[in-house]
Symmetry: C2
Subunit: 246 residues, 2 copies
């Protein structure tokens, strides 16, 4: 028995220290020495094919996940089948934080494309935060950022009109692609109109119509999932509209 356990350790030794996502991920802001110690935290990687679940609501919580490649959506389901997409996650972002509170996941995480995640055992993370100076703070920041992000979505869902929501969504995607070294003006969305709609609290037809309207107005150019932002400033201006304005 004893022999099998050590053998399962992942062949990839230098997980974080030579990953090009450090700037976006959990290790952000840590020193080189801290970084190398962090490598042992990432136990393994896991590939998740498009449409497959990384975890499901109710699954026992054991680890959080850092997205190494690809992208995901998280959603919550009501008994009657209604779905609410709670977020879209890209490389470097952390999945699974919802599971800590009850030691079981409270939402589903589904890959939007073939993806790969780093598995970070939660008990190991707790231990190491005692040891590595910057890790605890950085982890807290990641969780806090998630809370702030959720508040932004609540703002969007609670107080914005359909076109404002989509404009905010597009600008947010643009900024996140940009942070990952991709163009902020041209990108391919990985999710369907229905998923965008669920996230924004709109029906897919409304999302589609808003896309078309933006195109008519010369703000963007869309073809299916391909988006070209022609007038980002124009989109931003949409967000500052007074309730009564048109």
């Amino acid at each position: 028995m004893r022999a099998t356990v050590p053998i399962t350790v992942n062949g990839l030794k230098a997980a974080c220290s030579q990953c090009n996502l450090v700037e976006l991920c959990l290790p952000f802001g840590m020193s080189d020495t801290e970084l190398s110690r962090l490598d042992e935290l990432v136990g393994a990687r896991r590939k998740v094919k498009r449409q497959q679940n990384l975890y499901r609501a109710g699954d026992p919580f054991e680890a959080i996940f850092a997205i190494r490649a690809g992208s995901f959506k998280t959603d919550v389901l009501l008994e009657d089948g209604r779905e609410q997409v709670t977020g879209f996650q890209m490389t470097g972002e952390i999945l699974g934080l919802d599971g800590i509170s009850t030691e079981a996941h409270s939402c589903n995480a589904v890959a939007l494309e073939d993806s790969e995640v780093c598995v970070i055992a939660y008990d190991k993370l707790e231990q190491m935060s005692h040891q590595i100076e910057g890790l605890q703070l950085q982890f807290h920041k990641v969780m806090s950022r998630e809370i702030v992000r959720d508040h932004g979505v609540m703002m969007l869902l609670g107080s914005m009109r359909a076109e404002e929501r989509l404009a905010a969504f597009l600008l947010n995607m643009s900024q996140r692609f940009n942070a990952r070294g991709f163009s902020s003006q041209e990108f391919n969305l990985r999710m369907t109109r229905e998923e965008i709609g669920s996230y924004l609290g709109l029906k897919l037809e409304t999302v589609s119509r808003a896309f078309s309207r933006f195109q008519e107005d010369g703000l963007i150019s869309v073809q299916q999932k391909h988006v070209l932002l022609l007038d980002a400033a124009g989109l931003k201006k949409l967000l500052q509209h007074q309730p009564g304005m048109r």
Copy 2:
């Protein structure tokens, strides 16, 4: 100079160890010895009068707060003046977690009644989580719970109809009053219809109409802020309605 600093320490020595809110608050699940060590974490208490801000968006982040008495709302403001209430907080709940990510608060916290909070210096909290075994885990659970709660609100805002939202809100309040030793059937709301509306993504008139409808249907009895839940099961049933149902 040296003399003034020690003098400012709070006279209340046993902050957490003899607080009756331990069950609901940060110290939940910690041993007696851990608990007594926790006392030094709570530096001071702070009173906040009704309508006053505990903190504002943009304020530098230094501490989180545990509500000792009273209640609060948190909200986010858009440049154009639109407000989104992101949550209502009751005794034992933690405020200020949003500030960790950027080291500045990202929302406003306003007392709904004359209230008192325990001030927990964040740097001290970080230190002590290294030392007290259960503190780190418990703190993580508090943050994670906030994330899960926010996802619930997103579900509500994104996929529920007005009456479902209000039913969910009332059941949630009921359950939280109950957890604090108050009646789950009869309570006084601390917030206005407008604040409820902002939280639920509805206008105050719609909230008022939904209250009236619930009363007509014999589900509740309302008079201003006083609420009596007559048929909690009936309210729960409202939440399971299929989109097309009436």
